[in-house]
Subunit: 219 residues, 2 copies
DNA sequence: CTAATACTCTAACGAATATTAGAATAACGC
DNA sequence: GCGTTATTCTAATATTCGTTAGAGTATTAG
């Protein structure tokens, strides 16, 4: 039966994508790359792994065509091969959160120290941000803000937050976001600002989650 | 650093989902289960594999919480653990089609015998179907039609198509769909009907693709 | 109760994967 | 050219995965 061989071929190709996203390290890389392009060293540092190992995982991602690379002088710069790859990552962690109790428990524990992090309605938030009723701060490194960020968001990298505290209005609601629900930057920002008496909440979305929900980004 | 351990835990959980979808057999099972619940034997037959092997893959899918099972008499009935799992499958094969040339080539070759299979605009198709300007036929087994089907679609399983030819109007455009872009039923229906002189096209969507695009289903 | 059916579990083996270390390559600065 | 830096490739390891066969479990039919 020739049909079987053809079918096997088709599903085998999709499984290449599946194998690409079947390792925790590679998923973490995809999430980082969803924030903007990175060098091999950037990625290795971000994941706290050896450059050689990062390179091996990047090879696997390249073979699944989930990432592309170009050379920039001495550096190899990697990026996602499309916005659809970021959306695949979003869908994966959504499915994981929906069905894996262990993940929900770990996420609850993670966010416990910074109390009352409410996920906001996206449309309402956008409207309030446009009117200036809430201050949206992007606490990722500035390069990631430059690659893409939420409308009306201000870049306020975690490292600089303490130095720029005086620029933050005390009378307004502040909303902090970072790379997504698995990133701790926004939690730390919330913790810090709350201690200083600001009214602040965390947005669980990163730029990919925001965009996958059909919301606009500024690039 | 405690953060590392926590992060590892989080991505490891998402990787459980990734591992679930990293095998061609399991992907084919998910696509079949997206058509409605099935017994182990159903699935093994559908994939042309041993029941034991099917059971082993189902165990992997259960551990990733992508499927659930209940006992019905002698039979174990498996189903997807949510519509989000079907949508994950859709996103996976969309990403694969977008980035893997090998897959696009294989799909082209597959559809070659039945000429001119145009993907239709979904909204336009729905409108035309409602007005009765096109006849939408669902050529999957009737049980799958019963589980969920496109609005205004008629069940016309491939096996019965030849017997019910006279019920098909010759003057109207016919649109056939099946389990999705990797399924051959609609191709065969198109081939058969074209040979009999009908005007017929294939819709590449299955119910999951249709629903993932935000279109309504009848259940 | 026994026999048959439908499925799962265990054991086993080869294939594929993750990780590490060491050699090789490619571009830069001198 | 030479040394340095950034990255990949090769080789070797331990581990996991896919597949098959055989034993075991749950349910139904008689």
């Amino acid at each position: 039966m020739k049909k079987r061989a053809l079918k096997d071929l088709l599903y085998e190709q999709v499984a290449r994508i599946g194998r690409g996203v079947s390792s925790p390290k590679r998923l973490e890389m995809l999430e980082l790359l969803a924030q903007g392009e990175k060098t091999v060293e950037n990625l290795a540092d971000g994941l706290s792994i050896d450059v050689k190992l990062a390179s091996a995982h990047l090879k696997a991602l390249r073979e699944a065509r989930l990432v592309e690379s170009t050379r920039d002088g001495k550096f190899m710069v990697y990026r996602l091969s499309g916005a659809d790859v970021a959306h695949l990552w979003v869908r994966l962690h959504e499915v994981a959160q929906a069905h894996l109790v262990e993940l929900r428990l770990a996420l609850d524990e993670m966010s416990a120290p910074s109390t009352e992090l409410v996920e906001l309605e996206r449309d309402a938030l956008l409207k309030q941000a446009r009117r200036g009723e809430v201050i949206v701060i992007d606490v990722r490194p500035r390069a990631e803000y430059d690659a893409a960020h939420l409308p009306y968001a201000r870049s306020m990298p975690l490292a600089e937050l303490e130095r720029h505290l005086k620029e933050m209005p005390r009378n307004k609601q502040i909303v902090a976001y970072c790379r997504g629900p698995f990133c701790l930057f926004a939690d730390e920002a919330v913790h810090l600002l709350k201690a200083k008496g600001y009214r602040v909440r965390k947005l669980l979305d990163g730029v990919s989650e925001w965009q996958a929900a059909g919301m606009p980004l500024v690039t």
